[in-house]
Amino acid sequence: MSSVAAATGATSFIPASTRRRFLRRNTWTLAIYGVFLALLLVEKIVHSSLGAFDFENLVIYSLPLAFAAMGQATVVLIGGIDLSIGPMMALVNVVAATWLATASFQQSILYALVIIVGVAALGALTGLVITVSRVPDIIVTLATGFIWSGVALRVLPSPGGGVQSVDFSNLVNGELWGVIPEGALVLAVIILVVWLPFYRSKMGLSVYALGSNRTAAFLSGVNVARTRIAAYALGGAFVAMAGLALTAATSTGDPNSAANYTLNSVASVVLGGVSLAGGRGGLLGPVAAAFVLGLIGIILGFMQVDPNWALVIQGVIVVLVMLFAGVLTLRRQQ
């Protein structure tokens, strides 16, 4: 009885207008989580023995894209775009597979940190080049993409390498107490420890300001150069995690393994409710969208759809969702 009163007291403590605005700002994110749950239901129907193993599979399958989507979203939020995500993941993949092939768990963690810091630095450099040269993001990252691809092929011309430490690959593939996929935990921890403090910092606000209206942000005293460099650096760190997750999931290095991730990360970002013009959205939406895309693939697999047709169906679903959302937005504006 008293707990009920306390609960209602707590909700009425938050003003109605605040709740309304929260819903308005996060409608899309909530909707994409709704879609995810609905798809889980569909999977349950087509695959009746759905269990912990399937969740683990889904996490292993979707985790690289989830991190890639976070990297893309960070850059898209400032009004940029990163076309070098796939090639960078490939580069991380071949370097990691080479280094981790003979490393202990502690060494592996150290190597992973070195890679994350290194890729973040390369991201910062990309942001610096864009700022200094005033060449559009899309062109600079297209060019750096070629560079990373070339370097990846130099490092490991044909598939090879691997991950020796089982503990390390279990960070993605393992499970806690036999139920909770460790990859999901790692993702949650990264979001809580890296993204949330950033989002709540002044730098986070600057990122949104820059994407929302660059001129107004500049006139408000936002340091445009520093903000862009920070966004590309953080995006780079997430892309490094995506490459590491891919390495742990496949246990091999392959310079051609990540070709699809660039455009898939853009699809996740759009599906996850981030405005491609910048300034609107977050990281939780794209993460959910990455899982939705993964889940669609898995469901179509269970239904034994020809993989080529599966791609067509995935594309059609993305278009339909965007169409539906577009119509809803249009109606709300009128």
Binding site: S206, S220, G221
Partner: protein, 501 residues
């Protein structure tokens, strides 16, 4: 000792000289006006003072110390805070987040808003959801909360209804009383005359004089702004407040079929059953306070919004434009309030003018270069567009941009011209040219429907005026009777009886 001293400052962008040599001093405890025609360099000077641009030459001194402002933040640290012409609040963030972003304490802003009778604003609102006038007031409150020595207000009153503008003036006076200074930029010379201690006039990128407007009068300011070139301009439209009243420029044949007939027009809940005619050769004014349905009325006529009821006839045949393309085909063209909306900012003057020539698919083949050149040349000449910076329209001054939006319709041909506040933020010389052009066009038999927020303009150009209030036409006045007092009365929804009482 002056608070601010600008000495021989120059700035150019490519080949275009924005500031040739500008000098300006602002004393402590002074409201100082900066006036000048469009393109005179006012906005550029403001941007140099606020660290947006860096000067090519010259010095800026604050409290007798030479200062350099490499960024807007550095100018703020030197005690200069500005409210720019365009809102600088980030649309996708809440008010509170905007304040946090710019390191301004929310309670201080709250206090400033309370002083302006705006204490009910919820700081959790997302900025993009708020109306423009309120954003201007928020910008002002934020600038005040920084407690600057010099407050720069660049055209702040242009987007404000008169009651909010009054509060801005109160704030300015209060600020002066506290021994601080204001640099006030406005096209409304009346405001300059009433509220400013001194005024510096810029012309063609140089300062041409500083005067005390109370002593010299507004006319002297205008003369200085216009310079010797002013004599070449048509004298038809004169400075606001003078005696020349339009007593019906055209003889209108009432038996003729009206060019436009609007019958019981309904648009959302903003326009409620509006009916009127525009005859060939007639300029019909629309006057209203902010937000009385004028936006929706023009949007519906120009095909930008769907109407929810009523009929519109052009030359007796019904039209129901659902896109601007339909409206243009029916001969009804719009010059919108926001020039940026109408123009392709990065394309040339030529392309901007010739664009509507190719609306029809039949015109999608080879461009008839000779015809295009002739039409564009004629339009440019007729409007006296300054084509020095013609390679990109965005480099033109506001007045010249507005001329380009009119010129494109001259080239393409039309029957009805819809103008939404065509002279807002435009200097007086260009204003006169536009007024003269409208009379000329009317004499050629086209019809004009023009909303204006500058009430004296009604008597200068229009034949009659419709006053909108809450989406209805509450009064129709011939130009002779449409002086500012009568229009204001009607626009506030007062009946004639109340007006007398």
């Amino acid at each position: 000792m002056s608070l601010l001293a600008v000495r021989d400052v120059a700035k150019h962008f490519g080949a275009v000289v924005a500031l040739r040599s500008a000098n300006l001093t602002v004393e402590v405890g002074e409201i100082h006006a900066l006036v000048g025609a469009n393109g005179a360099g006012k906005s550029t000077l403001v941007k140099l003072l606020t660290g947006v641009f860096r000067p090519d030459r010259g010095t800026i001194e604050v409290n007798d110390q030479v200062r350099h402002f490499p960024s807007p933040a550095s100018a703020q640290q030197a005690g200069i805070a500005a409210v720019f012409q365009d809102p600088t609040l980030i649309p996708d963030l809440t008010i509170a987040e905007n304040l946090r972003l710019t390191n301004v304490a929310a309670p201080a802003v709250r206090r400033c808003l309370q002083n302006m009778d705006l204490s009910t604003i919820d700081f959790g609102e997302i900025v993009g959801d708020l109306p423009l006038p309120l954003l201007r007031m928020l910008d002002l409150a934020r600038a005040l909360a920084r407690d600057p020595q010099l407050l720069i207000l660049d055209e702040i009153t242009a987007a404000l209804p008169s009651d909010l503008a009054e509060r801005v003036f109160l704030v300015m006076r209060d600020w002066r009383k506290q021994g601080r200074s204001v640099l006030f930029i406005s096209h409304r010379l009346k405001e300059v005359g009433v509220y400013c201690d001194r005024a510096t006039v810029l012309r063609d990128g140089s300062d041409v004089g500083t005067m005390v407007p109370e002593e010299s009068g507004e006319a002297a300011l205008v003369e200085l702004m216009l310079g010797p070139a002013a004599q070449d301009l048509p004298a038809e439209a004169s400075v606001s407040g003078t005696t020349e009243i339009n007593t019906g420029h055209t003889v209108i044949d009432t038996a003729e079929v009206p060019l436009v007939q609007v019958h019981e027009l309904q648009v959302g809940n903003e326009v409620n059953g509006v009916s009127f005619d525009v005859r060939p050769g007639e300029i019909v004014g629309v006057a209203a306070l902010e937000g009385q349905g004028q936006d929706a009325l023009f949007a519906a006529l120009a095909g930008r919004r769907k109407r929810d009821g009523g009929d519109v006839y052009v030359k007796g045949s019904p039209v129901s434009p659902s896109t601007p393309y339909d409206a243009i085909r029916a001969g009804m063209v719009l010059v919108p309030a926001d020039r940026v909306e109408a123009l392709l900012p990065q394309r040339s003057v030529h392309e901007n003018i010739s664009l509507p020539l190719y609306n029809r698919i039949a015109e999608w083949g080879a461009i008839r270069i000779a015809r295009e050149n002739r039409l564009v040349r004629e339009a440019v000449q007729r409007l006296q567009i300054d084509v020095r910076a013609q390679r990109q329209v965005r480099r033109l001054s506001g007045g010249n941009q507005q001329k380009v939006t009119v010129a494109r319709w001259l080239a393409a041909g039309f029957q009805v011209l819809l103008l939404f506040d065509p002279t807002r933020g435009i200097d007086i010389g260009t204003k006169r040219q536009i007024h003269a052009l409208l009379r000329q066009l009317a004499a050629e038999g086209i019809g004009v429907l023009m909303f204006t927020s500058e009430l004296p303009e009604v008597q200068l150009v229009c034949d009659r005026v419709l006053v909108l209030y809450e989406g209805k036409v509450v009064r129709e006045l011939p130009a002779v009777a449409a002086d500012e007092a009568a229009l204001l009365h009607a626009a506030h929804g007062l009946t004639e009886a109340e007006g007398v009482a």
